[in-house]
């Protein structure tokens, strides 16, 4: 049996599994169903949630932190970061605001994880 660690949450389940002819035939150790989809992705196309930040114009802070609304393919992370670097948004920003939709055709949005007020506004 092979072993991988699920990275979807801090529980870090150690998933034991075996594959025959490219198909998963047994799985154990995942404490939630997300572990199974993680395993499937990991064998086909590893994906990660990417937390980072984008520039804010006229904000009380120079950055708003953001994350992808769901995991995106790992191989796209460098391209994703290049893209995010170009983004500038105008304050105010609210937590949950969608900053970019369907980024790089991944089906994931980039959403704000921090509220940034506009300068000089209460």
């Amino acid at each position: 049996m092979e072993k991988i660690v699920c990275v979807l949450c801090p529980m870090g389940c150690k998933i034991k599994y075996s594959v025959e002819d490219g198909k998963i035939v047994s799985v154990e150790g995942n404490r939630c169903p997300r572990g199974l989809s993680y395993l499937e992705d990991e064998l086909k196309e590893p994906k990660r949630i990417v937390p980072t930040s984008v520039k804010v114009v006229n904000g009380e802070l120079p950055l708003a932190s953001v994350k992808t609304s769901k995991p995106i393919p790992k191989r796209l992370i460098p391209e994703f970061m290049e893209l995010v670097k170009q983004v500038q948004i105008e304050a105010p920003v609210k937590v949950g605001d969608v900053i970019l939709k369907n980024v790089l055709e991944t089906g994931a949005d980039v959403v704000a994880t921090r509220t940034v007020k506009r300068v000089n506004s209460a």
Binding site: V5, C6, V7, L8, C9, P10, M11, G12, K14, P46, R48, I49, V50, P51, T52, S53, K55, L61, P62, L63, S65, K67, K74, I77, M81, V95, T113, R114, T115
Partner: protein, 405 residues
């Protein structure tokens, strides 16, 4: 000024304590020296927070925001003082507070101390060599990058493979800084496996185990860091030196509970180096309660929130006239590095936190009449168990043991 409850520090612990006290109809003042509430959460933009408490995975700022919102819902009962440093706490239950606007005294019936932890600085490592610029603690680097939008360097080496060190390795890489490696003196990674994978392996960042920094060189800015392998006593082995040409060194070598303000007022615990507390959050001084990283350094914010709520609840009951004894001591035994809380009072079941001393494949936890088996233990992963009070009755001392099985 007067209040029922003074909460010192508005991180995860302080916010939870303030809300718990306000729910019990007390008047609360929460003082925070930073401009915003939330503590360390605000700069931790990675995900990994709230899974136990909210059953969903949030980033640090999102987690903080949920509690800030709750604080504002109790605006009538909770007075949030930002930009306000508590300078001193006196034996007569008064505190001296300093803000850019004024300096004033506040009298409280009870205090919940929630000042968090600070990072072990470079100076404490006694590394020979120069003292150039370019050396940061992980928290400082994190704050510069994630809040102030400043790049800390071009090429970096990280010391310490705890979660914070590994998360910073990923952060620096994503921001276009080349991370040449993470150096760890233990023979195994200090943090969660999840972070070894998603922060190091994903980006091909080498992890140098059983290694330490033996010299830093640079005239103005850091230029070179020398790393060597260590033996079992962490002594560098001559002849194993490797040199890294980097302009940045990021240190993530541990957090220390911030306790100085309470020196002479409460007892500290030798192992956690934090404020010794009962399971009610009460310290050895009956009107001072404490919670969060100033009592013991917790892995997850979810635990900190729970402990903050607990301290807030018992502090409120104290204001309402209830009196608690500190209880019987809880002491780490075989294979146990530290435990929290440090005393047990049977008003409630015991939520016990502990760390093992070394990695263990399988171990039997024994606490009074309670036993439970655990697998795959590592010191960096806190064990949390709830122990019913029936299992702890009639003990005058509670020893916590992990027997290898």
């Amino acid at each position: 000024m007067k209040t029922d409850v003074l909460v010192i520090g508005a991180g995860a612990a302080g916010m939870a304590a303030a809300i718990a006290a306000a729910k019990r109809n007390l008047k609360v003042v929460i003082a925070e020296r930073d401009e915003i509430t939330g503590g360390i959460l605000n700069q931790c933009i990675h995900n990994g927070f709230g899974l136990h408490y909210f059953r969903e995975e949030l980033t640090g700022p999102e987690y903080a925001e949920r509690f800030r919102e709750q604080l504002s819902r109790y605006a009538g009962a909770i007075d949030v003082l930002n930009d306000c440093h508590v300078l001193r706490l006196n034996r007569d239950r008064t505190a001296l507070l300093v803000s850019p606007k004024n300096v004033f005294e506040l009298e409280a019936k009870v205090v919940v101390y929630a000042a968090g932890a600070r990072e072990r600085p470079f100076g404490s490592l006694m590394i020979p060599g120069d003292r150039p610029s370019g050396i940061f603690t992980a928290g400082v680097a994190q704050r510069l990058m994630n809040i102030d939008n400043r790049k800390v360097g071009r090429k970096a080496l990280i010391v310490g493979s705890g979660d914070i060190g590994m998360i910073m390795a990923r952060r620096l890489t994503l921001e276009g800084i080349e991370v040449v490696g993470v150096v760890e003196r233990l023979p195994y990674p200090g943090g969660l496996l999840r972070n070894v994978i998603q922060c190091l392996k994903d980006f091909n960042i080498p992890l140098y185990l059983s290694s330490t920094v033996v010299e830093v060189k640079g005239s103005e800015r850091l230029e070179e860091v020398v790393v060597a392998s260590v033996d079992e006593q962490f002594r560098p082995i001559p002849g194993t030196e490797k040199s890294f040409k980097v302009d940045t060194l990021v240190l993530s070598v541990g957090l220390i509970p911030q306790v100085e303000m309470l020196n002479g007022l409460v007892t500290l615990d030798k192992r956690t180096r934090g404020i010794a507390c009962s399971n009610t959050g009460q310290s050895s001084n009956e009107w001072i309660f404490a919670a969060g990283n100033c009592t013991a350094v917790f892995d997850l914010v979810d635990y900190v929130t729970k402990e903050g709520e607990r301290a807030g609840e018992y502090a409120s009951r104290y204001v309402n006239g209830e009196r608690f004894s500190l209880g019987v001591p809880i002491v780490p035994g075989e294979n146990v590095m530290l435990t929290f809380p440090n005393y047990y009072n049977d008003v409630d079941d015991l939520t016990l936190y502990l760390r093992c001393k070394k990695p263990m494949e399988k171990a039997l936890l024994k606490v009074g009449g309670f036993e439970k088996t655990f697998e795959d233990l590592i010191p960096s992963e806190m064990i949390v168990v709830k122990i019913p009070k029936q299992k702890l009755s009639n003990l005058d001392r509670i020893e916590v043991k992990l027997e290898e099985v």
